[in-house]
């Protein structure tokens, strides 16, 4: 009995095999050569094939601890704060819980969500500065980084933007709430730590989250716990320590929010 028989499938079969193979080769070449294709305002996303074969191993940020401290307080400031909570979609539920803290501690807040934003977007425009000028906060909480967990060469390509973002917030008291990683990132947390410093960067990645079905956003309860942890950090570890007594109740009320379209600023 012949194990292989000579009759071949029709030409159409091989056309599609070649099409699949050709597509795989095309996307592999684009990925390995790290070719960037930009059409209008959109940059075509990479297939991630290179990252599968050659995952980037990045050194931990090691200069964060050496950043010279300017300002800050050792005692908790119990005065009423005016927060600007700004960032990407990860703050959807954080804002609800922060609203509870504001009511409890006599703080007030303004919220801005820029969907799909990243350091690339905030770092290339003055949107952050615009909202700081508009609302005149006494404290900025920035939630950013989740949309760039897997960006290649991030430590070189986005350093400039992260530095610019920090510069826009300086000298105001601020805390950059790091992204709630669902996988190891390629360096965004290191970058934030490097430019914000340990006492202005909250490493959300150390927490474990229950996620919504998209696998990325924390569920409501999980986000509330996240905010509770950030609040402890703000009161005990942040450069500018403020009163963040834990509220006893959950109001589940969404504070007024300004929403920006998920479009890049360029």
């Amino acid at each position: 009995m012949k194990f292989f028989k000579s009759q071949k499938p029709p030409r159409d079969y091989f056309q599609y095999v070649w099409l699949l193979l050709g597509s795989l080769i095309l996307f592999s070449v684009l990925s390995f050569t790290q070719t960037k294709i930009v059409i209008g305002n959109y940059e075509l996303k990479d297939s991630g094939i290179r990252n599968f074969f050659l995952p980037e191993v990045l050194p931990l940020a090691n200069i964060a601890d050496t950043i010279k401290k300017t300002g800050g307080n050792d005692k908790v400031d119990s005065s009423a704060q005016k927060f600007l909570l700004i960032g990407d979609s990860m703050l959807e539920f954080l804002r609800v819980r922060l609203n509870d803290y504001c009511r409890k501690n006599n703080h007030t807040m303004n919220t801005v969500i820029w969907y799909s934003s990243s350091s690339l977007w905030y770092g290339q425009c003055d949107t952050l500065k615009y909202f700081i000028n508009k609302h005149k906060p006494t404290y900025v909480l920035l939630v950013l980084g989740a949309n760039e967990l897997f960006v290649k060469n991030i430590t070189t390509e986005r350093a400039e933007y992260v530095r610019n973002i920090v510069a826009q917030m300086d000298p105001l008291p601020f805390v950059w709430i790091g992204p709630p990683n669902w996988k190891d990132d390629t360096g965004i947390n290191d970058l934030i730590l490097r430019y914000a410093g340990k006492d202005r960067y909250y490493p959300s990645k150390k927490l474990s989250f229950e996620r919504t079905k998209d696998g990325a956003h924390p569920k409501r309860e999980s986000a509330y716990n996240w905010m509770d942890s950030v609040a402890v950090y703000l009161q005990t570890e942040a450069r500018y320590k403020i009163l963040m007594a834990k509220p006893d109740t959950f109001l589940n009320k969404v504070p007024p929010t300004e929403i920006l379209k998920p479009n890049p600023p360029f």
Binding site: S6, K183, K219
Partner: protein
């Protein structure tokens, strides 16, 4: 990274990134598979061994060592089917049948319903409930139903069990339908294994068309719109009624695109390899009644429930009242099949109630057809509207985490609805709106036009355009995907 690590990653099971039809890994292995298949498909033994080997590998990459559970089910039911067939006395036939049902359903009950039963038992007895750490093997609900149909058909003497274990294993484990259907009947599939495979160019083209269609539905439409739906379903109380309603419509499209997209890909891959897996969806949201809906939605499951549950309960042979009760019970259990939760039981029960009411309506209230053409059109439009929104309403319970969330959502829609949200919603979620409209528009294509479109693609479109469309589709999938591959909704069932 060393090559040994790369090969290890490629070949081993990773729970955080199982191999699915819409993953890059599948594309890689599938190309290798197709190349080898072109040499082997003409020889039955080599084809069977090769496809079986790939199917086991596919299942291992999707579900890990739960492959062993599949193999046990496979071996036990093959032997039991023969035992039933060969038994001379009816009582032994029945005994073997019960044994088989206990084995298959026992495994399903253990993996899927243990925690559900324990939780409810704890609730009734007032004890604390600590869930057991039980992983649900992917596809167990599907292959259990498939093996049950095989065993019951043999028991009813409607099918002669195959003497070839490899054929039986091929039928059960053929990778396109293994993990999420369609639930293929042995009577339909086994004869295909005996025939010489003739690869028809038109069927190959049709298969690829279906794969592309499925990929678009799943990886572009369903995965993108799920991101908004998930946010709202996670906390409906924090969104306005308008936003909640959009999420409900969004989920209605998402679940259709997700599951029918998978079915399209499965059926398309089957056709590419020379096998017909039947049809699983037929524009369900065009249904004019709930009975019609279930003839169009997840057809292989509906037919299974009808043939092995509804008819076994007596069907419509024992009077109208009994028919309604049978419908209700069938759908109640059909609901439970979808998941170990009361919300699925409620969802199924409500569909059963809907089916019974429709049967009653057709029998006693509106038995005939409209004489006037316009009267008939208006009646059909009204029927479609009611049917569609009945289905949409019940999806809320199907998707919401619990009854409270579902009621919150419904309350928000009914008490906090304001069309003023339309403009800001469009500003922020325009892509969600566009993709949802595109999805419903594709679904709304009349059934008569669809084969013509398919033929147009097969016969008129030059290959170079098809190739460009495929590359564009892959890039679209990359643009719209979230950072990790989204599982298919029906994998959890």
């Amino acid at each position: 990274m060393r090559w040994t690590n790369i090969i290890h990653n490629l070949l081993s099971y990773d729970a955080s990134s199982p191999m699915l039809f819409n993953s890059g890994q599948f594309l890689f292995f599938f190309i290798l598979f197709l190349i080898a298949y072109s040499f082997l498909y003409n020889n039955k033994l080599s084809r069977t061994l090769f496809v079986l080997g790939f199917s086991f590998f596919f299942y291992y990459k999707a579900s890990g060592w739960y492959l062993i559970v599949l193999l046990i089910t496979l071996a036990v039911d093959y032997l039991l089917a023969h035992a039933i067939y060969k038994a001379k006395q009816q009582k032994y036939r029945t005994l073997w049948l019960i044994f088989s049902l206990c084995t298959s359903l026992g495994l399903l009950a253990y993996f899927k319903y243990t925690n559900f039963f324990l939780e409810n038992w704890a609730l009734l007895s007032g004890n604390d409930f600590e869930p057991l750490d039980i992983f649900l093997p992917i596809g167990i609900s599907f292959y259990t139903f498939q093996t049950l149909s095989y065993i019951i058909d043999v028991y009813k003497r409607e099918l002669t069990p195959t003497n070839n274990f490899l054929d039986y294993a091929f039928y059960m484990c053929f990778f396109p339908h293994l993990v999420a259907g369609p639930i293929v009947r042995a009577k339909f599939f086994l004869p295909q294994l005996k025939k010489k495979i003739i690869m028809n160019p038109e069927e190959i083209q049709r298969g690829f068309f279906l794969i592309m269609q499925g990929l678009f539905k799943k990886a572009v439409l369903a995965d993108y719109i799920s991101q908004y739906n998930d946010l709202v379903f996670a906390a409906p109380g924090t969104y306005s009624g308008f936003e909640n309603l959009m999420a409900v419509y969004g989920y209605t499209l998402q679940i259709y695109c997700d599951f029918s997209g998978y079915s399209d890909m499965a059926i398309g891959i089957g056709l590419l390899l020379g096998f017909n897996l039947g049809i699983n969806f037929n524009k369900p949201y065009q249904a004019l009644s709930i009975t019609d809906f279930w003839r169009r939605w997840h057809i292989s499951l509906s037919a299974w429930l009808r043939d092995y549950l509804y008819i076994s309960l007596g069907g419509n042979r024992k009077g109208k009242v009994r028919q309604y009760i049978n419908l209700f019970i069938t759908m109640l259990l059909g609901g439970l099949w979808h998941g170990p939760s009361w919300k699925f039981v409620f969802w199924g029960g409500m569909h059963g109630l809907g089916l019974s009411i429709h049967k009653f309506w057709k029998k006693f209230v509106m038995p005939g057809e409209f004489e006037s053409k316009w009267g008939s059109k208006i009646y059909n439009l009204f029927s479609w509207f009611i049917t569609f929104h009945f289905v949409v309403f019940l999806w809320v319970f199907f998707r919401a985490n619990d009854f409270n969330t579902a009621w919150t959502m419904i309350t928000q829609i009914t008490s906090d609805f304001d069309m003023a949200y339309l403009s800001p919603f469009w500003d922020v979620r325009y892509l969600f709106v566009v993709l949802t409209l595109v999805g419903f528009a594709i679904h709304a294509i009349p059934a008569k036009l669809y084969p013509q479109m398919e033929n147009l693609y097969i016969k008129k479109v030059p290959f170079i355009i098809k190739a460009a469309a495929f590359v564009l589709l892959i890039q679209l999938c990359l643009q719209f995907r979230s950072e990790s591959v989204q599982p298919f909704i029906y994998f959890q069932f």
